[in-house]
């Protein structure tokens, strides 16, 4: 498979895969908290748009789901160790739950499932591939997990066609906003030097050294 970053997004985490350094743990946790803050910030900006979209055609609400999946994608792409995606997404969910969102603690279940969706894709590739396609697959997978969970928790009475539409929108949004968006975000962060201790930072410097 060839995609723009196949040659350069393959740096594995230093040491063994499970040899979490302090900076790995602290960064995954801090990204989780920062996304929790960002979720809250977006809420202030987005509440209006969300309601309009949902009232027009409810399954399209899935389209707005992508942003909430991005924490896991970014955590996974940056730290590149098993569990980092789940940890980042669950911590972000915990923070938004503590701030009082409309889903209560079920947001923790959502966070766990979304993180697992990302983790599944990264694990299948043995934590060796972190390119654009991988990121989009991970985002889409997170969207599928979350959508299926919402079928049972929020929309069990929707007709199957609409539920599938919701799933499709959610996966699409996951791939584009969380996957593509997360990948672009990590690239941008690598350019700032803030990721020098991680794979994306090292790859950035390799690209510019050659």
């Amino acid at each position: 498979m060839s995609h723009p970053s196949a040659s350069t997004s393959t740096t594995t985490a230093p040491g063994g895969l499970m040899a979490y350094r302090t900076i790995d743990i602290v960064t995954a946790a801090t990204l989780g908290v920062a996304f929790g803050v960002a979720f809250w910030g977006w809420n202030q900006l987005y509440l209006l748009i969300a309601n309009i979209s949902v009232f027009a055609f409810p399954p399209s609400g899935g389209l707005l789901g992508g942003p909430w999946l991005i924490a896991g994608v970014v955590g996974g792409l940056v730290v590149r160790r098993p569990g980092a995606a789940v940890a980042t997404e669950v911590i972000a969910a915990f923070v938004s739950g503590m701030l009082g969102n409309q889903w209560g603690f079920s947001v923790l279940v959502s966070g766990l499932l979304e993180g697992l969706g990302v983790e599944l894709v990264l694990a299948v590739l043995l934590y060796r591939r972190f390119g654009l396609v991988v990121a989009m697959l991970a985002g889409a997978c997170a969207g599928v997990f979350e959508s299926v969970y919402e079928w049972y928790s929020y929309y069990p009475d929707w007709d199957l066609g609409y539920r599938l539409a919701h799933l499709g929108f959610f996966a699409l949004s996951g791939a584009l906003v969380a996957g593509l968006g997360g990948w672009v975000l990590v690239r941008g962060l690598a350019r700032t030097g803030a990721l020098d201790a991680f794979g994306p930072g090292r790859e950035h410097h390799q690209r510019h050294a050659s």
């Binding site: 302090t22 803050v37 910030g41 900006l45 603690f105 928790s153 009475d157 962060l189 803030a194």
Partner: protein, 241 residues
């Protein structure tokens, strides 16, 4: 002999004193429990039971009412969408709305009373989660206020430079993306400094570490946990009947 008001005072303090694991469990148990809300009467009874427990046990109803408002919004959206896409059946739609209230309200309200630091102690000592992960997460959570302030400063700096949110969704999206990016840079810089400070205090090799404070589990915690289980089981039992 206990005077009634003293007993009431004790009851109302229970949630404040409660072990954060109990609060978390009560908020999470209701998630599977709510799946059993298959008819309006089951939903109303389950919701009523939670409301009753809230009125008796919460020290103050004000934060609860604030969070009820947010959850109501989600509930209304679900009622509408279920009515529209579930065959225009009012009864089904209302049931779905009540299900969301049962699902979300207990956790949303109990979150007000969870102390993250105490929760970290419990997760590390009682549940035996890996200590370094728990401690680092707890440390990162201390950064919440600081990151919230950073968000405000970023917003200020953008407005000063002539950019701000507007009614145009595309522009607002770009604005949110710009703020988020800058927030993450700031968070990552902080994370690097924090790791340096933590490693200088021996965190890197702390695979076996001790905890300065013990965790306690009281009879009251057991009672509250039983209540949480009973409340979550109520719709399941009603459905089975």
């Amino acid at each position: 002999m206990t005077r009634p008001e003293a007993r009431q005072h004790q009851l109302r303090g229970a949630v404040l004193r409660a072990n954060p694991l109990v609060l978390l469990a009560a908020g999470l148990l209701v998630v599977p429990g709510s799946f059993a809300v298959r008819s309006l009467p089951i939903g109303l009874v389950a919701l009523g039971a939670y409301l009753l427990a809230g009125v008796v046990l919460l020290p103050s109803l004000r934060p609860a009412l604030g969070r009820l408002g947010v959850v109501m919004l989600a509930s209304v959206m679900v009622v509408y969408s279920t009515w529209l896409l579930g065959g225009h059946e009012v009864d089904t739609a209302l049931t779905a709305g009540v299900r969301v209230l049962v699902l979300a309200l207990p956790g949303a309200v109990l979150a007000v009373y969870v102390d993250p630091s105490r929760l970290a102690d419990e997760l590390g000592q009682r549940l035996g989660l890996p200590a370094r992960f728990v401690v680092a997460t707890s440390a990162a959570l201390q950064r919440f206020d600081q990151l919230g302030q950073t968000w405000q400063h970023l917003d200020r700096a953008r407005r000063a430079r002539g950019f701000g949110p507007s009614r145009n969704p595309v522009r607002t999206f770009g604005y949110a993306a710009s703020l988020t990016f800058a927030l993450l840079v700031s968070a990552l810089r902080g994370a690097t400094q924090m790791s340096i400070a933590m490693d200088a205090r021996g965190f890197a090799d702390a695979h076996r570490r001790t905890w300065a404070e013990p965790v306690v589990w009281t009879v009251e915690d057991s009672a509250l946990l039983c209540l949480g289980i009973a409340l979550a089981a109520l719709p399941v039992i009603l459905y089975a009947l």
